[in-house]
Amino acid sequence: MTVYLLRRLYQALIVFFVVTLIVFVVLHVSGDPIELLMPPDATPTDVEEMRRTLGLDKPVVVQYGLFLKNAVRGNLGVSYHHGQPALKLVLERLPASLELVVTSILISLVLAVPLGILASTRRGRLTDRACLLGSLIGISAPPFWIGIAFILIFAVELQWLPSSGRGTWAHLVLPATSLALYRLALFLRLIRAGMLDVMTQDFIRTARAKGVSEKLVIYKHALKNTLIPFVTIAGMQMGSLLAGAIVTERVFAWPGMGRLFLDSIGVMDFPVIIAWALVIATIFLSINLAVDIIYVWLDPRIRHEK
């Protein structure tokens, strides 16, 4: 098991390295930020001077070497636009993004687990069909459009909740809910399918034959076994949610990392874009690793394997 985890860690490191390489090369081949940084009346000497200060005059390979050397010290360069360390800029926005992502994953879990159980125990009946239809809509609607529809209904028409910005709980409701809907639908389907799958297995029949009450069979025997593989998927969704939050942050003017990233694209602020991608990749890889560990720990069959 330790070997397995070490291998995963090693794999994560390779992925991380590849990400730095790709992001770096990709961005430096794509365009010249100097033109956007300098005023239109700048002289060629000014431009050259700026290029040298930013280290953009050296070959890409040398730039990458310098970048890696600095990166291991936590220095990802200075934002061309804000004049501050890029990593600091991104990390400053991290709490806002995490707040959004964690709230929305909690919303989807709190609703999806009971609804999934309900749907699976009433398979084929009205409750089940309603849940399935709802989840079909949830996985089919583009998340950014759900946000827009929410703004229209709850902010423009009813004027119950604010449509943009961050600060109070009221600000959090619409973005978190609209971001949660897709995962809610996905989780509901997974829980329902998992429950239906587990319920056909022998140990459920044994439990029923022993005279265990139906409630206990569902909540103890079946649910526990459904949730183990579910943890993996839910955990991985959290990582992708952090990247997917870009659209929600855009729609609700939420001051998170995603918005910073979008703004940086517009002005070709390479260090910030790189820092964003690396932070997302790091969090994503760490979550996946953590999920692996939790999975092994939860399932005694794997835990006791030699």
């Binding site: 794509s30 809509i137 583009p142 459009w145 827009i148 529809a149 990749a281």
Partner: protein
């Protein structure tokens, strides 16, 4: 697929308890042979039938957009800026679902936008299928160094959030329809490679593959005739799931302004433009394109669910 021993048996789909076995009424058979069960489960499922008809309708509209759309989607009619849908007092005739800020017709934009959505969906998924299939077959058949190399690349690809990879590449290449199709294809190949390799590994040791080796068939023949044919079912199921995903990804990228160029009528772009005027109560320019996209994706999702249930008996209980 003449040899029925090689084809996995397709079992009748799980039906609710009040389901009675098919009678002689259906195509004159009292029981349904495996080949017909797919068609039967299709015809008996009203939701699937409805979704198919709606999907075909969308496809026809998209293909014949030039004749179906009331006006040119890029044409700006300045006297008709921000007109509401036709059933409002201020709505005017050719603009049935209203117009946007520059007087472009919302309905025509939706119809032409669907064309882009479907095009990106089909071409991107097709391209990632070709890449993934080739690499997956190679990895499963050749083993050794190439397998390691390809599967490591798959791991790298799958351990990164899709939208992040797509965004980074789009930032690099800049806007463009062709570029986006390629970028989305690059983000999607890994799942195909993994699926195909899995299937190949599970059948490459089977007796009939060994027999083919013994009979002196070359690697090309074995790969195509045995390994490829047997991968068709999982590939079909994966494709049905990938297409709606890709369509939403296209809309998302275009909405964020890194997808198609501004002049191309895309649904994501239409929603972004409608969003600009949302706060003044002009809801139609963003809501209608979204509903259209949701219906399109919903139809494909229904078909994908049905296809998976019909083709993979083991996963039927998990639907």
């Amino acid at each position: 697929m003449k040899n029925s021993i090689d084809t996995p048996a397709i079992h009748p789909p799980a039906m609710p308890s009040d389901y009675s076995p098919p009678t002689a009424k259906f195509l004159g058979y009292t029981y349904i042979p495996a080949e017909r069960q797919l068609l039967h489960s299709f015809l008996t499922n009203k939701l699937v039938l409805g979704a198919t008809l709606l999907f075909l309708f969308f496809v026809l509209c998209a293909v014949f957009a030039y004749w179906v759309a009331p006006v040119d989607p890029t044409e700006q009619t300045l006297r008709a800026r921000l007109r509401p849908p036709i059933w409002y007092d201020r709505g005017i005739s050719p603009f049935y679902l209203g117009t946007d800020r520059l007087g472009r017709d919302v309905l025509s934009n939706i119809i032409y936008g669907m064309r882009i959505s479907l095009m990106v969906g089909v071409l991107s998924v097709g391209l990632s299928l070709i890449i993934g299939l080739t690499l997956g077959l190679t990895a499963g058949y050749a083993r050794g160094f190439w397998e390691n190399f390809i599967m490591r690349a798959v791991d790298v690809q799958l351990s990164l959030p899709l939208i992040m990879v797509a965004m980074c590449f789009m930032v690099m290449f800049g806007q463009g329809l062709g570029k986006m199709i390629i970028v989305i294809a690059i983000t999607g190949w890994a799942e195909y490679a993994r699926t195909v390799r899995g299937t190949v590994l599970s059948i490459r040791e089977k007796e009939y593959v060994e027999a083919a080796h013994a009979l002196g068939f070359g690697p090309g023949t074995i790969m195509v005739k045995y390994l490829l044919i047997n991968s068709i079912t999982p590939i079909l199921v994966l494709t049905a799931v990938q297409v709606p995903r890709v369509i939403i990804l296209e809309a998302t990228l275009s909405f964020l302004g890194v997808g198609v160029p501004v002049s191309t009528p895309s649904i994501g772009m239409a929603i972004a433009r409608g969003y600009e005027v949302l706060f003044s109560g002009r809801w139609w320019a963003s809501i209608f394109p979204g509903i259209a996209l949701m219906m399109l994706v919903g139809c494909i999702n229904v078909l994908a669910d049905w296809l998976r249930d019909a083709l993979e008996p083991r996963s039927r209980e998990r639907a």
